[in-house]
């Protein structure tokens, strides 16, 4: 079964440092997403991406965040200057065209980001 792959699984970074979280979506999917889950809380939408541009972003996704699909395979989330409150599990997801085989949302296994 196709998978969404995220790396690293766990990253520890110092406050103020830049981090890049990486994702490889399912190859025939066209829509890409990042979600965040602070420990013990619900999963929150950050941003969606289609056709090499942001489709929608939440209030959480401020100027400190950016996304990129640099090579047609990877999909990255960059946090420029991390804060303690950025500590969370970050999930990448992808989806295909509705009605096509396997179109539904598939989540990666997540990257646990710890800011110290």
């Amino acid at each position: 079964e196709p998978e969404v792959t995220q790396t690293p699984s766990h990253q520890v970074t110092q406050m103020g440092q830049e981090v890049i979280l990486r994702c490889v979506p399912i190859s025939n999917h066209l829509y890409f997403y990042w979600y965040r889950q602070i420990l013990g809380q619900k999963v929150e939408f950050l941003v969606s991406f289609y056709n090499n541009e942001i489709s929608e972003k939440s209030e959480i996704f401020d100027d400190q965040f950016s996304v990129e699909r640099p090579d047609g395979s990877n999909f990255t989330l960059k946090i420029r200057s991390t804060k303690l409150e950025d500590s969370a599990m970050y999930f990448c997801a992808s989806s295909g065209i509705q009605g096509t085989r396997g179109w539904g949302y598939t989540f990666g296994s997540g990257t646990r980001l710890t800011v110290v």
Binding site: F32, G104, F107, S109
Partner: protein, 118 residues
């Protein structure tokens, strides 16, 4: 904006018994999708079941089934013959239809922690 409400923070069920997790949502959309995701201690998000709002028939996946009441905006998950491996956090989620050229986000509820006991 859509909202999803899960009113049961925690539930417990004995192995082999049946349990029902509740979910209500609010939307002005007529067509949409509803999902149940399972999050075990590993924190991976695993799709359990999906329901299209235009389908009257309730979705089933093996031991998992839903009771979808569109007029009441209710979407409950029934787990039959509960197993220890069902112990997890369960999230209900709402999604507007994907249209060509438009990505569609998931809106999640706050989750229900299910404990299956011997």
């Amino acid at each position: 904006a859509q909202t999803v409400t899960q009113s049961q923070p925690e539930m417990s069920v004995q192995e082999a018994e049946t349990v029902t997790l509740s979910c209500t949502y609010d939307t002005s959309e007529n067509n949409y999708y509803l999902f149940w995701y399972k999050q075990p201690p590993s924190r991976q998000m695993i799709l359990v079941i999906r329901q299209e709002a235009y389908k009257q028939q309730n979705a089933t996946e093996n031991r998992f089934s839903v009771n979808f009441q569109k007029a009441a905006k209710s979407f409950s998950l029934k787990i039959s013959d509960s197993q220890l491996g069902d112990t997890a956090m369960y999230f209900c989620a709402f999604m507007k239809p994907l249209n060509t050229g438009t990505a569609s986000k998931l809106t999640f509820g706050t989750g229900t922690r299910l404990q299956v006991t011997l």
